[in-house]
């Protein structure tokens, strides 16, 4: 292709204008992706294991249920796996026996989601409604510094991961 000088300069002008514009637009769009998150922490320190009440406790700030059975602790996330509403704990007046993954298990409580009616057994297994998978179990640890219980939302663990102190 042959370009005369006029054509060349014109293309150069328009080209650099477009390039400059693209650069500007990139800076605008890129600025909308936060580099630093000021969102709440995903790792929360609770009390000493002894002081956590037996049974179930709901930790508000991290939307997590902490369970204590004697010396055993575990945590189930209350965030519904369907659309992220907070599931509610429903204690059953009579324990019922259900089959979960082929095994018969006695459940004493369930989780119900208020938004779209998903239901989960006590161990988080989904059995009704639109939820596509069980509730997440999250890691419970003991802090090496002061022996307090720590819940780490960033670490998902397999179902039935329980910590015995």
């Amino acid at each position: 292709m042959k370009l005369d000088r006029r054509e060349f300069l014109k293309n150069l002008g328009i080209g650099s204008l477009l390039l400059a514009l693209a650069g500007q637009i990139y800076t605008w769009v890129r600025s909308l992706f936060p580099n630093v998150s000021y969102e709440g922490t995903r790792r929360v320190k609770l009390d000493e294991p002894d002081k956590i009440p037996d049974g179930v406790t709901f930790i508000d700030d991290i939307k997590t249920y902490i369970f204590r059975e004697g010396k055993t602790f575990y945590a189930i996330s209350a965030v519904c796996t369907h659309l992220g509403c907070t599931v509610k704990y429903v204690g059953l007046s009579k324990p019922k026996v259900v089959k979960i993954g082929g095994k018969e298990v006695e459940v004493k409580w369930e989780f119900h989601c208020p938004c779209h009616g998903s239901k989960f057994y006590g161990d988080g297994t989904n059995y009704a409604g639109p939820a596509p998978r069980p509730l997440d179990w999250v890691k419970v640890e003991v802090s090496p510094e002061d022996g307090k219980l720590v819940v780490d939302l960033g670490k998902k663990v397999s179902q039935n991961y329980k910590l015995t102190v």
Partner: protein, 444 residues
Amino acid sequence: MAEVKVNGKKLTKRSLFWTWAPRSEKEAGDSIVRNLLLHWFPAKVTLKSLSWGYSLWLGTITATLFLILTLTGVVLMFLYVPSVERAYQSVKDIEYVVSFGWFIRAMHRNSAHLMVAFVFLHMVRVFLTGAYKNGIGVGQNRPLNWIVGVILLLITLFLSFTGYLLPWDQLAFWAITVGTNIAKNAPIVGEWIRFVLLGGHEIEQNALIRFYVLHCFFLPAAVLILFSYHMWRIRKDGGLACVDNLVLSQKKEKVKDGMKSKTYSLLGLTAGRTVQVETSLIDEEKYTVNSVPFLIRRIGLVMLGTFVFVVLISLFIHAPLEEPANPNVTPNPAKAPWYFLWLQELVAITTIRIGGFVLNGALVGGILIPGILVILLAIWPYLDKSSNLSTGVWFSKERMRQNIVFLVLCFLVIVLIIIGTYMRGPNWEFYFPWEPWPQLPKKF
């Protein structure tokens, strides 16, 4: 009256701003062209286009609602603080402390809901009259204008949705939680879209300010630009579709190749001529009238009526304000805004399980079904093969089947909205309206 002399011509206030009662054809056309607010109207308009029964004036009502929303919205912008700490308190102040604050907010809220409804009704009207079809004019592109309309519908929904979060109460917070989590389920880009929209992973300050800017500047600007184009295209397409039909029904002979229609270099100024220059039949006085005063008067009436209606209902229907947003407590049931409730209903019932394979309902009901519906809607004018005799006619026989399918789909959407609004109780269980809801503990 003050008079100024320019080039020997007398310029009165009247001739500068308004020629309300034109004394000649020339003056009638002149009054359109010379007025900034009117120059996008034709000088003459057919009686059919002007009738109440053809267009039902739904587009004009929608535009009026948008005007009310802009005006009340600007006032509210002076009173509202888009910060997580102060948003709720400032809305509460608007509602209970600011003089007439409750009224302005109710006007804004009610107009917003009405606008969603009327954009929808306008679309239904255009579909049922086949007004997205080209008629006989050369250079018409009504399908394009239909697509612009579909985009305007989507923006209207998004405008309403972004406004929903601003009060930062429980209603707002959870409607947006559900809404943005639906977006998350879009394949590949979902996670990314939600991240950009919220400016993070949680609905916090970043999300609030983003929604605020989208709501107050970005989306209204988009509506204004597209609305201008929407109106301009009506002129380019030779006016409302019923004009094509009028011409066709008068022409006894079949129109084989496109007729020349006038383009608007003269802004339709030529006296006695309407949009289809060669179709002289509709130039006759019994079919057309001057836009000033007839079109302007009717637009004024519709605007006034809409305004009065919104004022009256706003005296009785106030904008709700619930408890401040609390990310830890989901209200039971938590519902999306009514115009998204059909989606929420779909989302709740479309999780598909085939063996171990699970398709999340949020993907099927929240993305796939509405996505397919919107795409179908957008391309429908290109699939509709009916003749141009069906352009601009209510319930044309030729288009009966598609009209029925369209109405059935609209009906289903409305039924799902009604079920979602009135028949879904705690845990999204079904209750008839007369059945009491069980009392559930607020916290777990």
